[in-house]
Structure formats: structure tokens, C-alpha cells
């Protein structure tokens, strides 16, 4: 069993740690660094609740080892709101469209949509909607989440497909 020194920038803050090779990134973020907004549902890549942004890309934190994030910049849901506590546009859209109920799946969905809308141009509602296939929500029936994604993609609200 190997132990590794790693250095990860999380939400703009540098974290130095010593981790076992087998430690999942999701557990590192939650238990070692206190970012409990990273929700762990299935812990084997199915539900999407643990989604975080690693070097600009939305990935499942339970499918990466902490040691693999050595040198990377990670953003969790805690890193999105403005310094004044103002909601990120993705959070605002989900709130406006009733895109959450219990909120368990929400941080993952927020991170996927935040990564895809962080570029310069509009991402297009289609790609946002397609990326939602990577998330399971047991509460909402998805329509509110879809409306939020459509709004963020600059699309019309339209009929639910």
C-alpha cells in the first residue's frame, strides 16, 4: 500500500496532503478538505452526484484517485458563489426554474452545467441537455432541471421533450 504527497488547488486554495494510493478524489475532497458539497451517491460512477470540475472539465470525483489530482485545479460547488454570497448563474437558473427538491443530486448537476457554460460562447441548449444524461435525480422528474439548462443554453423554454 503506497502513500503519496500531493498538492491540489481546490476552489483557489492550495492543499498539501499525504494520501493512500487508493483514496478516491471524492473522499479526499469531503473528508480531508471538508468540501461536503461533493455528494457521494453510488460511489461507482453511475449517479453523477459527485461531479466536480478538474482542470476545467466536469468529471466524476468517485472515479478518480486523489493522487491523480496532484497538480490539478479542482472546483467544487463551494467554489461557485460570489464573494458576497451571490449565486452563480447556474445556481440561479436552477433556483428560478425549480430544478431541485431534496438537493442531493444538485451539486453534481451544477458543476456539469457550470463547466459547460464557462467558455466564451454560448454552449447551446442541446449539449447542456445531453450532458444531463450523466446525472440521476430521484426527486424532480427532471423538467425543472431541463428548463434551467435550456435557459442557460440561450434556448427557448419550449415543450419538455
Amino acid at each position: 500500500m503506497s502513500v503519496h504527497g500531493i498538492q491540489v488547488t481546490i476552489n483557489g486554495r492550495r492543499h498539501d496532503a499525504s494520501v493512500e494510493g487508493r483514496l478516491l478524489l471524492s473522499d479526499f475532497l469531503r473528508m480531508h478538505c471538508g468540501y461536503t458539497g461533493v455528494h457521494v451517491g453510488c460511489e461507482h460512477g453511475v449517479c453523477g452526484a459527485c461531479t466536480v470540475v478538474v482542470d476545467g472539465a466536469a468529471v466524476r470525483a468517485c472515479l478518480m484517485l486523489a493522487v491523480q489530482a496532484d497538480g490539478a485545479a479542482v472546483t467544487t460547488v463551494e467554489g461557485l458563489a460570489g464573494a458576497d454570497g451571490g449565486l452563480h448563474p447556474v445556481q440561479q437558473a436552477l433556483r428560478d426554474e425549480f430544478g431541485l427538491q431534496c438537493g442531493f443530486c444538485t451539486p453534481g448537476i451544477v458543476m456539469t452545467l457550470a463547466a459547460l457554460t464557462s467558455g466564451t460562447g454560448p454552449p447551446g441548449a442541446d449539449s447542456l441537455l445531453a450532458a444531463l444524461s450523466g446525472h440521476v435525480c430521484r426527486c424532480t422528474g427532471y423538467q425543472g432541471i431541463r428548463r434551467a439548462a435550456q435557459k442557460l443554453g440561450g434556448g427557448t423554454q419550449g415543450e419538455p421533450a
Binding site: E43, G45, L63, Q68
Partner: protein, 287 residues
Amino acid sequence: MKPAPFDYIAPATIEEACAQLAEAGGGATILAGGQTLMPLLALRMSQPFILVDINRIAALRGVTRSEGYTRIGPVTRQNEAIADSTLAKSLPLLVTATRHVGHHQTRNRGTIGGSIALGEPAAELPATAVALGASVEARSVRGSRRIAAADLYLGPYMTALAQDELVVSIQFPDWPSGTVNVFREVAMRPGDFALVGLTGAVAVKDGHIERAGLAWFGMGPTPIKARQAEQALVGQPVAGLDFDKLAGLAVADTDPFDDHHATAAYRRTVGRRVFARALSEALQVHQ
């Protein structure tokens, strides 16, 4: 669930990785994108002593063109391949197939080579490699060898790769101009493994089929080449092809199974329809 303990190493070069695989004597598992392996580790269906992470090997990434073929580094991420301008031109079928692999979030980590080297029978990329006549270059301290995709898959998750071998590139040969691509997948939801899938290419010259490479996924223990249908196609004029008969031949080569998603009979029935429709639609441009 947490993975069982292992030693983790992340070599920086191919040579280092091969040396470590040789030294491990079969006790090591290679970690590429991890989108299949990490769940297997979490469920403790896989418990290696040593995990060799190849993500830090720069030489294993990227797409290059050579005379007659396209070479893909195995650690090229699936979403990188989808966005790659070279692949869009030289291998549009691979791009289409990769769009069907998992979800946006898993494609950000998942790799082309990881999927091809793993050999999941219902996966899109192994079948596409078989259909197009691709090959992998396997490297070990013993040397280097090229394995045709058609010879790579022995059973579910079983390949001809030895335990000390690392896939260092995947080569896709060019197909003639006038090639049309065929891709059709039936799954419960987007991102799920296929219940029935067909992928491949047909080259047409002067109104006749010059070459055909078609393979099934989700229709047996490995990707399965539709050999009888390929043979029946070659040399035929495109006008007047009997798609139903060809579909029958194509399904005759499959070996589907019953599972909790679908029965073998369902897969055969759907396979016939998928084949007839996908092929006739693809060939419409030449009719």
C-alpha cells in the same frame, strides 16, 4: 465502497511503464481513464497489487496522420477525440461511435485506448476498431508487436494482450473515397451499453460495393464481424441490394445472450431491422 489497498505508480515514460509491468509479473493492472476500472476496484471485483497509472505518459496522447492511416494515442480522452479536427476528417465513424460512449462527464476522463484494450462486448469502440480493420501496437520489455483488432478479442473483457503488454498506439487504416459509414445503436437510455449495435463502413466505386467492414456490439461475447454479409456485399451493384436477405446473413454471425435487459431473440429481431435500415439509409447517397 472503497478499493482494496494497492501500490500506485505513475510512470512518466512508456519504457518505465513496461519495466514496471514486467516486474509486477501479472500482479499489476493498467489504469487509463478509469471509467470502467474504478467501479471494478470500488466493487472489489478487481484487486490488483499494483496499479500502473499511464495518464502521465505524454507520448500516449494525441492524434497523428501518416500516409494511409490515422494513429491515435491510447490515453487520448474520448471528448478530445470528439473535438479533434483530424479525426473529424479522417475517421468520422470513430467520432460518431465515441459520442455514444458513456456520458459527457465520463468521456472527459475515459480514453479511446482504455475502451479498446478492455474489450467490453457491448462497447462501441472495440467493434468500430474491428469493423474498420484497425490494429493496436502492444509494447513490453520483450519487444513490440501489432495485433489486428479482429484478433484482439477472445471473450468478455478478455483480449490477446499479455499481462506485461501496454497498448501504445491504435492505427486505423484509411478507407477509399466514396466510403459511407454505418452506425446504429439501440439502448435503454443514451449512455447505457447497447442492447444491439452496428458499426462499420462500406466503400462504393462506380455504383458497386468495393469493400465492406461491419461489426456488431452487444450481440455476443466479443465484437462480432458480420462476415457473411460483408462477403455477400462485395462486388454487388448498390442498386437492387436485398437488405432483408443481407440482414439475415449479418444476424446469422451473431451469438447474442439473454440477460435482464433483453432476450437473445429480441436482440436478433432488432438486429435484423437495425442492419437493414442502417445499411439502406447509409447507401442512399449512392443510389
